[in-house]
């Protein structure tokens, strides 16, 4: 009994440490200003990136291969969604206009607004 209890305690301690580690990483990410949405469990099917106040939200998003991503512009100024590597390119999106792209191949897909290139984001596609 004693031994089992000890083991449980050890297990608990390791879990706690793991939790602390995870929280630390998340805090570090927060401090670095990196936004990871649903990082642990990639979203599937479809997901949305909002454009508000000259920024993509979330800025970085992880999805499963085959996911369709929809960008929607909520600003009073048009924006675009351009793949940094030329893999996709939207027309100018006026207020409430949308752009959609389905990511079939795993990989990282950085993008930006070609009108306001300070606006950047990334789609991470997992198998």
């Amino acid at each position: 009994m004693r031994n089992i209890k000890t083991n449980q305690s050890v297990v608990f301690t390791w879990s706690a440490l793991a939790l602390v580690a995870i929280v630390s990483i998340m805090t570090l990410r927060g401090a670095l200003g990196i936004v990871h949405a649903a990082n642990a469990e990639p979203s599937t099917g479809s997901t949305e990136v909002k454009i508000d106040n000259f920024a993509f939200t979330p800025g970085v998003i992880t999805v499963k291969a085959g996911t369709q991503v929809t960008w929607i512009n909520h600003d009073d100024i048009p924006h675009t969604v351009d793949s940094t590597e030329g893999k996709f390119k939207s027309a100018a999106l006026d207020t409430e206009d949308k752009f959609q792209f389905r990511f079939t191949e795993p990989g990282e897909y950085p993008f930006f607004c070609r009108m306001h290139p300070k606006m950047t984001g990334k789609i991470i596609v997992q198998p």
Partner: protein, 333 residues
């Protein structure tokens, strides 16, 4: 450096002689977005309140003058200004009502909101009503949205190089129109690009150092607020080519408010929009149309009048809000 700067400030004070502390005034004016005059005289810029200069007949006896208008955003219809065509018309009416007729108009970009043919048509129609028939354009990022800017270049870029840059001469002043809104890099600011910079260096070589230079482009060619993209990545290189000239005036738009800076012989100036104001840098979550009470809109929209005197080799710049009020009354902000 400090001594030299103090000396220039002293010169400014002496030449100014209007009781307005230049630094305090500029600080104040930067956000008032209304009127301010400054003159380049022998390479030394002088700032004056708008009312003072008009009193002294700033435009009287000038050898030629032109008007800068900017950021018309034809097609924009949001609450910040539901009728941008009407405010452009007011701007043109003000130009036509000037006691001296400007020789030409420079539009520093964002003619349209979405590069639509109908938007360009509306702008053209409005500008036809201006007494100054010659209009020089440079594109804003809103004008190059379709077909890599073909629509813009076909209409406004005849005879220009690359994505629409060019130069021309008027009564001894060399004007250069630059494009810094295409092929922008992710995470970057405005960009002129290698090809245009090479052209610029070559274009300026033909001119003597005593030739006054006026450079104009949409996005500021000086770094105003990089967080909002208010600057141009390779502007330093462009400015290095004009360092040898005795008088260089840089006119920009994009930020929808008056800001200016004097750096040696270089004078930088941004114009108001004819469509809607934008917040002062860092005072809002982001750039973008700023809603003001309807009765105040025409105080924050405006035009820029530039007068040139060959004899004094000087340029006088006056920003006038559309509502016709003088700048001095609003400089107290």
């Amino acid at each position: 450096m400090a001594n030299k700067k103090d000396l220039i400030d002293q010169n400014l004070q002496d030449l100014n002689n209007d009781g307005v502390d230049r630094r305090g005034f500029l600080k104040c004016m930067a956000w008032a977005g209304t009127g301010l005059v400054w003159t380049l005289s022998g390479g030394i810029p002088v700032s004056r309140a708008f009312a003072k200069t008009t009193e002294k007949g700033g435009s009287k006896g000038s050898d030629f003058s032109f008007v800068q208008i900017s950021d018309s955003h034809i097609g924009f219809n949001k609450p910040a200004n539901p009728d941008v065509t009407a405010t452009l018309q007011v701007a043109i009416d003000r130009i036509n009502a000037m006691p001296h007729k400007p020789d030409f108009i420079i539009h520093t970009g964002d003619l349209s909101q979405l590069s639509k043919p109908s938007e360009f048509d509306t702008l053209d129609q409005a500008l036809k009503g201006a007494t100054a028939k010659q209009v020089y354009f440079v594109p804003g990022e809103h004008d190059m949205l379709s077909d890599n800017g073909e629509q813009y270049l076909q209409r406004y870029g005849k005879g220009t190089k690359g994505s629409g840059w060019y130069s021309f001469d008027q009564k001894g002043v060399h004007f250069v129109g630059l494009v810094n809104v295409v092929n922008l890099k992710a995470g970057g600011l405005g960009s002129l690009g290698h090809e245009q910079l090479e052209w610029l260096e070559d274009d300026l070589k033909a001119h003597s150092a005593s030739t006054p230079i006026v450079m104009f482009a949409h996005i500021p060619l000086w770094t105003i607020y990089p967080d909002w993209g208010w600057g141009t990545d390779d502007s330093e290189q462009a400015l290095s080519y004009v360092k040898r000239f005795g008088s260089v005036t840089v006119l920009n738009g994009h930020i929808h408010q008056v800001m200016q800076k004097v750096e040696g012989k270089l004078s930088f100036h941004t114009a108001m929009s004819t469509a809607f104001p934008q917040p002062a840098p860092g005072t809002a979550p982001s750039a973008g149309p700023m809603k003001v009470p309807a009765e105040q809109l025409q105080k924050v929209l405006g035009i820029t009048d530039v007068n040139y005197l060959v004899s004094g080799k000087s340029l006088a710049i006056v920003d006038s809000p559309l509502d016709g009020s003088s700048a001095s009354s609003k400089a107290a902000g």
